[in-house]
């Protein structure tokens, strides 16, 4: 995966993608704003949501032990996974133990993150995605580009083509009269997946929340595919990131109110399922829970970045992000794209690592104009801009010992040198005033209002002037004007 600026360049050139994204993010932004607007005390609700998650994280070890104990008492088998590989191995072992060659899956960020489908495929087990968008992505041999709407980059015509081309190879084919009406496409997915639900022996899910005091897992969804996977199979394996823990049943309150409004822009999502281990006579009679670390403890150890683990995966930050809206999710090179991905990936993987993968991770904290729209909508008040700035400092610090000279570091040191003493700055301004006079005489571009400007510059200046004019420096800086016109107040110049 190339670093963000290069990947973004590719995405920006795709006009269909930009059109699809602009339409989709605008639609969902408006829906969210409407339902958030009707909650009188939204800010107080955000504070409560942030506090619930924060208190859970600050006592995470205790809550995890309690969760394990309650789950076990309720008949579930609890597994712990240090990393993706261990988590995938647990799921594969459960599937093998039941002799199945397929599992049905609820949409789950954790299983996407650990590459579960690929790991199961390597064992000869097909993992069927059952969320409509995940199905579109899976059939299209594509990657998800959004946390909530993984196929947000596809429009209806593209989806119809994917269904017509790919459904037959995976099971029940698309009907001959398939149109690109969303209702018709959804009906085709219903028919295609129903035979899989009815025969599946093993279901795989994640969880939105895990209640420590009751051993309850919570899955929030819309389509009912989640309910199918959670209740029809005989065996259920849930892969749960350790940061999903909330201390108490009542603590679900602010989160269940915050999540749907922030996520799909609804007052409540169509279906929320909760279950605590095994219920005799109802649903899977063999229940496994995999508690997953895979970098979460690394993020937890970061004093500033820790708050990112409050994330409830609503994707509100993606939908308001001006960078995401233009580049889409693939440019971030992770199942966690957008502003939250720009902090979560570096926090979980660690910055400053060698090689192209390290460079890709290090590029993510810079994939933001720090406009702050993400913080404004985050239901659990993750201060993403502050974490981005802190991670940038970590990236720079990690590379301070590198061999070779980096232009940016030189420029920053030079700027800091001249900004540390006003006399040095004044000298630099006089130099730029000379350059300004040259430009004013030779510049071919004139800004509205009459000021001369630089057109296309060579070298490093091209990054600016490729599509933007740059005003020529003035003959006289403010500082020089002040000194000339107010000599009495002049001090040491």
């Amino acid at each position: 995966m190339p670093a963000f600026p290069a990947a973004a360049r590719v995405a920006l050139a795709d006009t269909q993608l930009r059109h699809n994204l602009a339409h989709a993010t605008r639609t969902i932004r408006d829906k969210r704003a409407a339902v958030v607007g009707e909650v009188a005390q939204w800010e107080a609700l955000r504070l409560a949501g942030a506090a619930v998650k924060e208190s859970a994280l600050l006592d995470l070890d205790r809550h995890l032990e309690q969760l394990e104990e309650r789950l076990t008492a309720a008949g579930a088998t609890v597994h712990w996974a240090r990393d993706a590989e261990e988590a995938c191995a647990v799921v594969a072992a459960v599937a093998r133990a039941h002799g199945v060659d397929e599992v049905v899956k609820v949409k789950s960020m954790a299983t996407a993150e650990i590459g579960l489908n690929e790991a199961l495929a390597a064992e000869g087990i097909a993992a069927w995605e059952t969320d409509l968008a995940e199905l579109i992505v899976q059939l299209g041999g594509d990657l998800p580009s959004h946390i909530l709407v993984p196929a947000i980059h596809r429009n209806r015509a593209e989806i119809r083509e994917i269904f017509r081309r790919e459904m037959a190879a995976a099971g029940r084919p698309a009907p001959d009269d398939l149109t690109d009406e969303p209702a018709v496409l959804a009906a085709a997915a219903r028919a295609h997946l129903r035979e899989k639900f009815l025969r599946a022996k093993v279901g795989v899910s994640g969880a939105n929340f895990a209640v420590a005091e009751s051993g309850t897992l919570v899955v929030v969804e819309s389509e009912g595919n989640g309910r199918m996977c959670l209740t029809l199979p005989e065996v259920l394996v849930s892969v749960v990131g350790i940061e999903k823990v909330v201390p108490t049943w009542e603590a679900l309150d602010p989160l269940l109110r915050l999540l749907p409004r922030s996520s799909t822009g609804e007052r409540m999502n169509p279906y929320t399922s909760t279950w605590s281990g095994v219920t005799p006579g109802d649903g899977p009679q063999e229940v496994h829970v995999v508690l997953l670390d895979a970098g979460r403890t690394r993020a937890l150890a970061d004093e500033v970045g820790r708050q990112a683990l409050r994330c409830i995966r609503c994707s509100a930050c993606l939908n308001v992000c001006p960078v995401y809206e233009r580049t889409g999710g693939h440019a971030y090179g992770s199942v966690y794209p957008g502003p939250i991905g720009a902090i979560l990936n570096p926090l979980m993987k660690g910055v400053g690592q060698a090689g192209p993968e390290g460079a890709q991770t290090d590029s993510l904290p810079y994939a933001s104009s720090l406009c702050g729209a993400c913080f404004e909508v985050c239901p659990v008040r993750i201060d993403i801009p502050s974490v981005l700035v802190d991670l940038r400092a970590q990236v720079v610090d990690a590379h301070r010992g590198d061999r070779g000279v980096k232009g940016e570091a030189v420029a920053m040191r030079a700027a800091a040198w001249s900004f540390s003493d006003a006399r040095r700055l004044a000298w630099a301004e006089r130099a730029s005033g000379v350059a300004g006079r040259v430009l004013t005489r030779l510049g071919r571009t004139t800004l509205p209002g009459g000021r001369r400007a630089a057109g296309r510059l060579p070298g490093p200046g091209a990054a600016w002037t490729g599509a933007r004019d740059l005003p020529a420096p003035p003959r006289e800086s403010f500082r020089a004007w002040w000194a000339r016109t107010r000599p009495t107040q002049e001090d040491d110049r």
Binding site: M228, T231, P254, T297
Partner: protein, 211 residues
């Protein structure tokens, strides 16, 4: 070292900088909607459920039989949970009681047109019906596989908001929170009702006996 010990050890190490008083800091209480008369709460519930394009009807206790019959007009085979005593089903339908004598398999459920159940709690602010799968609501699969779900909610079961509902619910039981019919917005964010769950949700809100 086991994965369990190692992960817990990493968690403790990661939190080494956190002062005990920071851990003890009390979470602010989530805000509540202003109290209002119960009849207004029920009105809001009906309005909000209808907003999801579910069918919502209010009726008196003695009208319930007729309303259920009307709601089931297009169905031939209906499944009911074993404990649904209050609701009389119309004649002329094939009524299957789940668990008498056997529970239905997934394929058998798929061959049923509709399901009639009670509910545990209604939440007005969000337009949500919560099932706790007691005998009058049946197993989770019952309200999932058939294409029509007729759900009977008594007015007294309706509460104002999520924080009012949680203490009434037992987390040890499986719960299903239902807000409108199955839906998706995965294609260009345009909402389509009916993917895998029931494509029609018909909620009958029954007036309190005394009122």
């Amino acid at each position: 070292m086991s994965a369990r010990e190692e992960v817990l050890g990493r968690v403790r190490a990661a939190l080494a900088d956190v002062a005990p008083q920071a851990r003890a800091a009390v979470a602010p209480t989530a805000p509540r909607v202003p109290e209002r008369p119960h009849h207004e709460v029920v009105d809001l519930f009906c309005e909000r459920v209808a907003d999801y394009r579910a069918v919502v009807e209010r009726c008196a206790v003695d009208e319930l039989g007729d309303r259920v019959a009307a709601a089931l007009a297009g169905a031939a085979r209906v499944v009911v949970p074993p404990g649904l005593a209050d609701v009389a089903l119309p004649p002329g339908l094939t009524v299957v009681v789940d668990g008498e004598p056997d529970v239905l398999g997934a394929a058998e459920l798929d061959a049923v047109d509709a399901v009639v159940t009670a509910a545990r709690v209604g939440i007005a602010e969000t337009g949500t019906v919560v099932l706790d799968h007691a005998p009058d609501q049946g197993r989770r699969a019952l309200t999932l596989v058939p294409d029509l779900h007729v759900c009977v909610v008594r007015e007294e079961q309706v509460v104002a908001d999520v924080p009012d509902a949680l203490p009434l619910l037992d987390p040890a039981r499986p719960l299903t929170w239902i807000s409108g019919p199955s839906a998706t917005s995965d294609i260009e964010l345009s909402r389509v009702e009916g993917v895998h769950g029931p494509r029609t949700l018909h909620v009958l809100v029954v007036a309190d006996r005394e009122g």
